[in-house]
């Protein structure tokens, strides 16, 4: 088997892909980790979501569109998007406190902001501000992908108009075999990238790499990640629809004493 030979060649401490084609956590090459989406209300945020990819967990709260706290930040013809990212000190294996001014954190926040700028219809809210607070609770690889997916869900639950979903997946290459949705263990060992796609138009709004990846391998892994984006889209859409259904149903309970069904059946002839 080609794979097993390559595994042996790369004599690292851990086996990224074993001879049976399994990864260190028992997944196959293209298998994604389990996704959990919790849309319950967090404090008085306009929209919030807790998203879990395997052991990576991110909490996002969205406030807005609302009056900008600083007048200098207002833009006269569209809303300003403000992203703040914080990583909990206990989130990774080694306890480490990062300050808010940490360059790496600011860079991630800027990446999230530029990912969402093209999809949010900011021109509908001139002079307003949309605040996105991202909190990383647990880190086990792919934390940028979790941040982006959670932000998509939180923005939707806040009723902010968006052109499309944004679904992000990380991918890497172990010698010649591509892997999807990397854990921290794999992320430290193989060259990797994160891709964020809009599932409807298949446009890509973010590709980021912190390691070096051979140019011949790039196309393959990039295509795979775009495909995986569609799978994640399905999960996210199901979660949003389930949440909306629940809320519409409970709104119906209080309504029935008034004038019965007030919403007409919608049909297009």
């Amino acid at each position: 088997m080609v794979q097993s030979i390559s595994t042996l060649k790369c004599a690292s401490r851990i086996e990224i892909l074993n001879e049976g084609g399994f990864r260190s956590d028992g997944r196959r090459q293209y298998e994604l980790r389990s996704i959990e989406i919790d849309l319950s209300q967090q404090g008085h945020a306009d929209g919030s979501a807790v998203l879990t990819h395997g052991l990576t967990q991110v909490l996002v709260s969205v406030f807005g569109p609302r009056e900008a706290k600083m007048r200098s930040q207002t833009i006269h013809d569209r809303a300003n998007i403000n992203v703040e990212l914080s990583i909990a000190a206990f989130s990774a294996g080694d306890r480490r406190k990062r300050s808010r001014g940490d360059k790496r954190i600011l860079e991630f926040a800027a990446a999230i902001k530029s990912t969402f700028e093209p999809v949010i219809q900011t021109s509908l809210y001139p002079r307003s501000q949309i605040d996105i607070f991202v909190q990383v609770i647990q880190q086990d690889g792919g934390f940028l992908q979790a941040c982006i997916n959670a932000t998509t869900i939180a923005l939707m639950s806040a009723g902010i108009p968006m052109i499309d979903f944004i679904c992000a997946v990380s991918g890497g290459v172990h010698s010649t075999s591509p892997l999807l949705d990397l854990t921290l263990l794999e992320e430290n060992d193989v060259p990797n990238l994160t891709v964020a796609v809009m599932p409807k138009t298949r446009k890509v709004s973010l590709v980021t790499m912190e390691t070096r990846l051979h140019v011949d391998r790039f196309e393959e892994i990039f295509k795979l990640a775009t495909e995986a984006g569609q799978v994640i889209h399905g999960e996210m859409k199901a979660a949003i629809l389930k949440w909306s259904k629940g809320l519409v149903k409970s709104m119906g309970h209080g309504n029935q004493d008034r004038d019965g069904g007030e919403v007409d059946e919608v049909g297009f002839d």
Partner: protein, 287 residues
């Protein structure tokens, strides 16, 4: 995906969608709020229910900030005092504006605003003050302008504010409610609800005796123990109902209030999850 074969009706007959879902063709239909047009297709841009009026297709978001309309009653909080105007936080996408010329000034009947009024604007409303007002008009950028030119409107005191999602406050005949337990309610359409001690109509300041001291007063009246308990009970009932996403109506609130009194429990028991669930179960049953 065409809308005709998109089967996702829930029990109430409303259809749900989410951003990026194509709804119909833009040649046959007009796009409304919550949609956009791309390559001759009407596509949803928010997650919510699809509504259609003739040829107009709109998607109404499940939860969103307050979208003001002229004539709406709102409860707001002063955030800033500017020359000739106040800025008011009304849970909307921008702070609302309350012009000095659209408030009732002391001295009775309508009169021109003087420079001296401008200098003592903080005497009327200060940062942090709560007020009830009506949406008067919009500015070109979509910000709303408020007015308090009625004796029903003005500064709020003797009570407590609850913020709820604006969609849970429906348009009612009157947004000023009086519950039999001696509590007044102001249901702001922006989702801010003011719960206060009941003031008899006769004790409210009349047009002739328009008294600046009383209308713009910052001092609470004497509130007895029973009223305080009633106020906090009503606020808790509102919080429990809205956390279960149940729209507020006067009958529903009263029913819920009576149920909590019947249970003979402490007000703080309402904080408990199971007690709240029982409350919701009791009022939704048989509906």
């Amino acid at each position: 995906m065409d809308i005709d074969d998109y089967e996702d009706f829930d029990s109430s007959g409303s259809r749900l969608t989410c951003p990026g879902e194509s709804l119909t063709s833009s040649q046959a239909y007009m796009r409304g709020h919550g949609t956009y047009v791309d390559s001759e297709e009407v596509i949803a841009s928010v997650a919510g229910t699809i509504e259609r009026v003739n040829k107009l297709v709109t998607v109404r978001a499940i939860r969103s900030r307050y979208n003001p309309e002229v004539g709406d009653l709102v409860v707001g909080r002063i955030t800033e005092v500017q020359p000739r105007r106040w800025k008011v936080d009304a849970h909307s996408r921008q702070d609302a504006v309350l012009m000095l010329s659209s408030v009732n000034l002391p001295g009775g009947v309508q009169r021109r605003k003087l420079e001296s009024d401008e200098l003592q604007m903080r005497g009327f409303f200060e940062e942090g003050d709560l007020l009830v007002a009506e949406v008067q008009a919009f500015f070109s950028d979509g910000a709303m302008s408020l007015h308090t030119r009625s004796l029903k409107y003005g500064k709020l005191r003797n009570g407590q504010l609850v913020a709820v999602p604006p969609i849970l406050v429906r348009r009612l005949k009157s947004h000023f409610l009086t519950l039999p337990c001696g509590v007044d309610l102001i249901l702001g359409l922006n989702g801010y609800i003011w719960v206060s001690k009941h003031v008899k109509a006769s004790e409210q300041e009349g047009e002739e005796g328009f008294d600046a001291e009383a209308v713009y007063s910052n001092v609470n009246d004497e509130i007895d123990e029973a009223t305080r308990t009633a106020i906090s009970r009503v606020t808790h009932v509102i919080r429990v109902l809205t956390s279960h996403f149940i729209p507020l109506t006067d009958t529903l609130l009263l029913e819920a209030y009576e149920w909590t009194v019947e249970q003979e429990t402490n007000v703080r028991d309402l904080f408990q999850q199971d007690f709240g669930d029982a409350l919701v179960a009791s009022i939704t049953v048989g509906r």
